[in-house]
Symmetry: D2
Subunit: 372 residues, 4 copies
């Protein structure tokens, strides 16, 4: 069943005589194709069906030291409000010009809210999260439930839930937004609806109702036995993430299986009603590397974005090394080789479109050195 085939051979290197001559008959046929809204496969197959993913998106690093001042300037010059909705500035992949796409599926932005400002409520089909690399003072209100935002927290706004943000303090605050806007836009699946201009509940509790109901390990409220498409937990707090990673490294010290690989602790944020990903299109994880740890180079189908939460290190993206500092973000397009190396203890937040890949059975991973 296995044919004699050379994996390295590209379509282009095969002698392709299909439709190559320049007879007037063929030219006429091609013209007639065009007026009939037809395009032959043999002229596009190299591009459409490559030997392996050949993304137009490119690896890229955005520096927090550059991002944050730009967001501040936007805070001074651009009011936030209905219509534009959010003071969010998106990471636009240099390989996908014109649209604010970090990858074909993922949108990533720094959002900035000045003292006492409010971003009005709305809802949309697109799934969204926030991750806080620094700061505090903003509450995001999700379906009327105010959720505190603090450093290290991972917060959810799954599709079609109303949400707005308000800053209760005299200090500005900025954080990272991640959404599946490019996928939704491309596949024509998005709905949008305006909500209240002010947040519907301006209380500032320490813990959201969602956490109080769902944030107890291994315990499910009997009032919530129906599984939900996305996680009912509004905020995944840093103290839990940090504790989980700390324990994994301690267990490793004790010689117990706990980490993904030596020196590399990691957790996935999950939906407690299913144990699966927090939202149908976005996976989110937190990784911690001991100082000195290097991960093997790997390629994965699907794209992802990392943000450095703490520490210093490097990433090698398709052979090119980039140094990384706190707050820096980088994107790994599909099938691009990546590996991490930690200079200091190194904490990274990661999100990806892996649930799309897995649910549609396109997921594939290749570890460098392993046979393909």
């Amino acid at each position: 069943m296995t044919p004699e085939t050379d994996q390295a051979v590209e379509h282009g290197t095969v002698v392709n005589e299909m439709g190559q001559d320049d007879s007037p008959e063929l030219a006429g046929l091609y013209e007639d194709f065009e007026s009939a809204h037809l395009i032959p496969l043999w002229t596009q197959i190299d591009d459409l069906m490559p030997m392996h993913p050949r993304p137009k998106a490119v690896p890229h690093v955005w520096r927090w030291s550059a991002l944050y001042p730009l967001a501040q300037r936007a805070g001074d010059l651009v009011p936030v409000g209905r219509g534009g909705e959010r003071r969010a500035i998106a990471l636009a992949n240099p390989g996908l010009p014109g649209r604010a796409y970090t990858t074909p599926t993922l949108w990533t932005a720094i959002q900035y809210l000045g003292p006492k400002e409010t971003a009005p409520e709305h809802r949309h089909s697109q799934n969204a999260f926030r991750f806080v690399v620094e700061g505090e003072g903003v509450w995001t209100v999700v379906d009327g439930d105010p959720v505190r935002m603090s450093r290290g927290d991972f917060l959810l706004t799954p599709g079609w839930h109303f949400h707005g943000h308000h800053n209760e303090t005299d200090q500005p605050m900025a954080w990272i937004d991640g959404l599946d806007i490019p996928f939704s836009h491309y596949a024509d699946v998005g709905f949008f609806e305006f909500g209240s201009d002010r947040v519907t509940d301006d209380a500032t509790p320490n813990f959201s109702r969602s956490e109080r109901l769902w944030g107890h390990p291994g315990l499910r409220p009997l009032s919530g036995l129906q599984n939900t498409v996305s996680s009912p937990i509004g905020a995944y707090r840093w103290e839990h993430t940090d504790a989980a990673l700390t324990e994994q490294l301690l267990l490793e010290d004790e010689g117990r299986p706990a980490t993904v690989e030596q020196g590399h602790a990691a957790v996935r944020y999950v939906n407690p009603t299913t144990g699966g990903d927090v939202m149908p299109t976005i996976r989110a994880e937190f990784h911690r590397l001991r100082a000195g740890t290097a991960t093997p180079a790997r390629r994965e189908v699907g794209s992802c974005v990392f943000q450095v939460f703490e520490g210093r290190g490097h990433v090698v993206l398709e052979g090119t090394e980039h140094s990384l500092d706190k707050g820096d973000l980088f994107v790994v397009p599909s099938w691009v080789s990546w590996s991490l190396r930690a200079e200091t203890p190194f904490d990274l937040f990661r999100f990806s479109d892996a649930p799309i890949m897995e649910r549609l059975h396109f997921n594939r991973t290749h570890l460098e050195g392993a046979p393909q």
Copy 2:
């Protein structure tokens, strides 16, 4: 929790003062955004996050009477073979110029194989099917299993299965191919591998091994208890489809529940190991309308393509009526309103990206007249 909101209001009609002034400071900020590979949301939100899906793909009808002669001309002028791989001519949506995309997710083509010709073996991540509106004489060989192609048959080549086609007769044959090439291309998930230049088994049995093992209603071989991602059935034969639809209409005559709606019989092709869709990205169905039947107008998230198999009728696409004849194909982009009307008994094959929408929980349907 429900805000006072006017569903009909578009972003554009809301006063959006975000970043609208023309100060040099703002111009400078926008320039700095651009050099930092950043794009603010407030300048793109109208396009990126519309109130409802606003596809660039447009409704369109391709006539079989035009398609087939063009395929014949290609048969005369363009040899089939390695490199171009297939003499397949794709339906390119007029709203998506430059690429052979029928919709953002679906690729549709007429494939033509002359007397005694062979389309060489290969495999790819993309999921594929064939549907035969007329003709016979070709066998498609899937992982070494020769599958006869005859009028009315629906045939599968799920992702990463080797396949080639060969025409054993002195007559040409044409059929319809459907694949998820646009999705795979856009999301960077595709792998491709060449196989044998000739089909690996040139036998011409009436029934494939896959049918002999799996084509018995309600019976599962004990040698096949593992569920499979895609259906293990290589060919869904017309005689079964026709019988199932005939029985539904007879049951309706007897006053029994059997049809989708009055005068409208329909079956879905399914994977017998799960009862679900035949492949992870493509749904396929066959619909039969009694003469005179009209379906209610509906909108659905996700896109689909119909081909008339037999009979005459009309489709209304976003208010515009098109007459339809045997072999005609039309595309329904996401959220475009459509309804069918049968002049004669009316048989239509349909395929769509519904599994993508459902697995990612973006599916939504609106029946005209019903509240949205």
Copy 3:
């Protein structure tokens, strides 16, 4: 983690000093336990928690040549009707005296209906099937849908569906019933409701409505997209079962993977909406052995019953060989070793409680010769 333990050691052979002395204090304690409705584990653990399943049910063979005449005599002496409901005579395992239990979970009976007789309609939580080793002329009416019963057919009456039987002919007819009565009785889960005294539809169609809607391989009606707990197919016809087995052996002849093991073809009856078992508690299969084929001895957690449909052979049950002829039934209690040997082409129907074992994760299989 693996302790030094000897699998062959039974509790009884371990020195158990717990509660073994005969002091008056201990006797007093045991008396006080009894009046407080308490029983210590240490006096029952040998029985309650054996080293491996030690069923009280025993292997046994019932001869069709004895069963059928007894059913005939019951037909002469015992009227069928409301109250007793069915002229069904159950195989009572000699190891489970007093109750008509073939195994702790399964009830098996020969049911006999005289010329023109009717067994009245009722419904119950218990799941039921019929298998026809010979004869014809009876229709079972399930939720108003008349289902013809003919030799080789496997018919379903899942829990809580009304059903009655009527014999339209001048000839008596007998068949095999299988239910989960013992499990339902033991676990206190059964509900029962009387229905019409006559069948609600006395038509005698060749095919039930359920078959007309669901009996098309790989095709699912769009009016039936909701998955069902039990199969919606009322009858699995012999012609399909026979064809499926025939093809498996032909494919084996052609050197293709198709059979369970050399010379042993087998199919499982499944629910087309899921690909899983026909009912939540009962698995049903049909096995065909070529003349001369012998299966390896195996033990399985859970119990099953076989009926010879055609041919002659032997079964070895825990080392004892029994010859088998058409219609003979035998029971295999949990963890009893069994193997088959075919004298002639040998067709057997089998049903079991495997879905219970698998859904509760108690399933385990041991092939003789393999390490346990």
Copy 4:
């Protein structure tokens, strides 16, 4: 499809003429049935297939004030050790004499371990848990992982995991064990294996490795992405249970949906890899009623056991009221009506065989006053 039937009618009240006469022919037939190991349905249907579950198990209350002293006496008189394995004294339902069955599926016992004693390691197919109503000082070691036992903790020993217990202190300790021994014994599914005579790890950490890896809300270790049949969490700590229930009542005070019904907070212990029950056969929950709260009477298919953890109240079991105090246990057989009433704030632990009922689709609930 609905027949004219009177739900209240029992089989026995229907005139059943099947096999009622006393002719010698019929007597002879019955004798021949018996020698052929056959039993007719019509003589047993009243018992085997009742109109609704008619359990032999009866409702019963065991008093902690009686149980604990008996366990103490056993501690003085009966050594713990290999063979008897555990100093566990089981609640034997008065309606199921002879076997230590609390219900047909559930075994419940008080287990007692004296100062410095060890219960040796073993493993078995049966699923087990412990619940601690008072005391501390014992560690249960599950697959080599020492798990502290303290008041209010719920601890797991899923099937086929090695486990032993050791008391590190100079005080005895008692707790409740729950297992599916009756089901396993009845259905012949049990395997048993001896392990180490001493626990394989006599450390006494505050938190087990399983908790350190899995006890972080909404976080899943990347080293544990494979779903597990039973929960990987070894101990569900009282502090979490208490906090979850406290929050539910506070949320109710704030007018938010959180409780099952007014004044009634409840959590289910779940497997974090699936969100489902902790083990395939046993469900465990904790209920808290405000003083004065009464629950509506309900009947459920399947059986359960409650233990009062704190407070005073009453249970009405099939019309009979019983007062309840700390530590008291009571059993609710299948379809027996039950309701609770709280004198004081009232905390109860509950476990049941609901996963069996739900997985086999026999579950049914009836609320008093609602139509059946």
